[in-house]
Amino acid sequence: MAKLILSVDGQVLKEHVLTKERTLIGRKPHNDIPIDNLAVSGEHAAIITILNDSFIEDLGSTNGTMVNGKPIKKHFLQANDVIEIGKHKLKYFNDAPSQASAADFEKTMIIRSPAKAAAPAAPAAPAAPAAERVPSDTVTNMKAPAPEVVKPAAAPAAPTAHADHAPLPDAAIQVLSGAAAGRTLDLTKNLTTIGKPGLQVAVITKRPNGYFITHVEGASYPNLNGASLGAQAHPLADHDMIEIAGVKMEFFFKP
């Protein structure tokens, strides 16, 4: 259950557990969290709580509401956010995930009556009337025009470093034969394809525990250190030799 701790000048005044869907903060006594100070408006702000999430909304107060030093109109509260109203501070604590084990907490559950009251006037998703809703202005032709030896994936993927592993050293491949001989390709993406589309393509996967090469398309498998790769993923070691679509290349860890 989330809670707020009200303090002024470092002195804790009270603790308030957010049990209600709407918790009012203001100067007047009927507020759920009354703050008797002239810098505070009669009804200054409201906290809206939906299950494990809480939002703060400024109710058009005279002097405004700040969260973590920034003035806000509405804000989605995160653990340890500090709300400032005049000289008063309210720190937001949300320990929901620690109460149940993480696995239990994330289990999918059905919620019987959707919190419609809390999500005002949630309009039903406009029914998609079949075919015409499908946008057709997207590009269909994906085939690479000219066979290129080295084609990295389109854009950088989000870094997905995992805490269990030491950081993965940077690696690259150097092309040793063919038209692109001498070129070096840094393996910065999670997925990098090499080879000629339509003929023979492999992908090098960057994972938390190392780099792996896997056959993607083509009638025959690429060679790794002179042996056929087969259909399975193979871990790559420093100075491994890859031969794909008639081109030799070397995998290496960067110093």
Binding site: N52, A103, E106, K116, A122, R133, P135, T138, T160, N190
Partner: protein, 274 residues
């Protein structure tokens, strides 16, 4: 028209890195262009009972009632309407079966499941879904989420209460507003979409899209688009590399060639001799 040839498909389901059993369930019937994925919930171990019942009942039920050879005699609009009606009927039947089982077996009390059903026919796909299992489509280099989750988070997004950025931080991501087998009746969301050659359709459980960013899913689909079985392996592996906190399932359908049904008297005449 040989559907199994026009549509390349692959699927993979995995318990993930944290859970000791898998409550996801997938069922493929490539010969009739049918793909079903379910993510079970509730009970102690009853989630997989619900998802297993849902996928097998719906796949078997449609395999019995949806006969592409007979459907070929209908007009395209009639075929679309029939697909929608039969999918709806089979979902209702599975809902009753799961609900009755949970009422009569205390160990199954409260079980339910999410569901995505895709039925491909005549260059269209009929899609039904319940809950937060998803269908994505890659067309060209653009990926689109075809289904809209039946979840509290989605309702909050729709009402503007939170932004997509805030949604990523929400503690409420595990709450669905609709599920199969929870109540005596359920209303699935049903839509029909036109298919184009080289489209990729990805059915997945939330164990994938909660662990792997949409952009990374998109890049994986683009990079490995010629090899569906490698794509699903790579997606499941990415979910596990990122923590694998939930069961993860991915099912991929690639439109390798158009699968329009030939109509007109000559085609029908030929069909008699197939």
């Amino acid at each position: 028209m040989n559907l199994a040839q026009a549509l390349q498909s692959a699927s993979l389901t995995d318990p993930g890195r944290v859970r000791d059993h898998n409550e996801d369930c997938v069922e493929l019937r490539p010969e009739i262009g049918l793909y079903v994925l379910a993510d079970g919930m509730g009970g102690y171990n009853a989630g997989e009972v619900a998802s297993g019942m849902a996928t097998s009942l719906i796949a078997d039920g449609l395999a019995e009632t949806w006969n592409p050879r007979e459907v070929d005699r209908l007009s395209r609009d009639e075929a679309m309407a029939l697909a929608e009606r039969l999918i709806g009927e089979q979902i209702a039947r599975a809902n009753t079966a799961i609900y009755t089982t949970s009422q009569n077996n205390p160990e199954c009390a409260g079980m339910g499941t999410t569901l995505v059903v895709c039925l491909f026919y005549d260059n269209f796909v009929s899609v039904a879904h319940i809950g937060d299992s998803r269908l994505y489509r890659l067309r060209g280099e653009a990926m689109e989420q075809v289904t809209r989750d039946h979840s509290l988070l989605q309702e909050q997004l729709d009402s503007g209460l939170i932004t997509p950025e805030e949604a990523k931080l929400s503690q409420n991501r595990n709450l669905v507003t609709k599920a199969l087998g929870i109540d005596p009746a359920v209303e699935p969301e049903l839509h029909v979409y036109e298919c184009e050659p080289e489209d990729l359709y990805l059915l997945c459980s939330d164990g994938l899209n909660d662990m792997v960013e949409d952009e990374e899913i998109r890049l994986t689909l683009i990079t490995l688009r010629s090899n569906p079985s490698l794509t699903v392996q790579q997606l499941v592996q990415a979910a596990n590399d990122n923590g694998g906190r939930d069961n993860v399932s991915a099912m991929l359908v690639r439109v390798a060639e158009p699968f329009a049904v030939a109509r007109g008297w000559l085609a029908r005449f030929k069909a008699l001799f197939r």
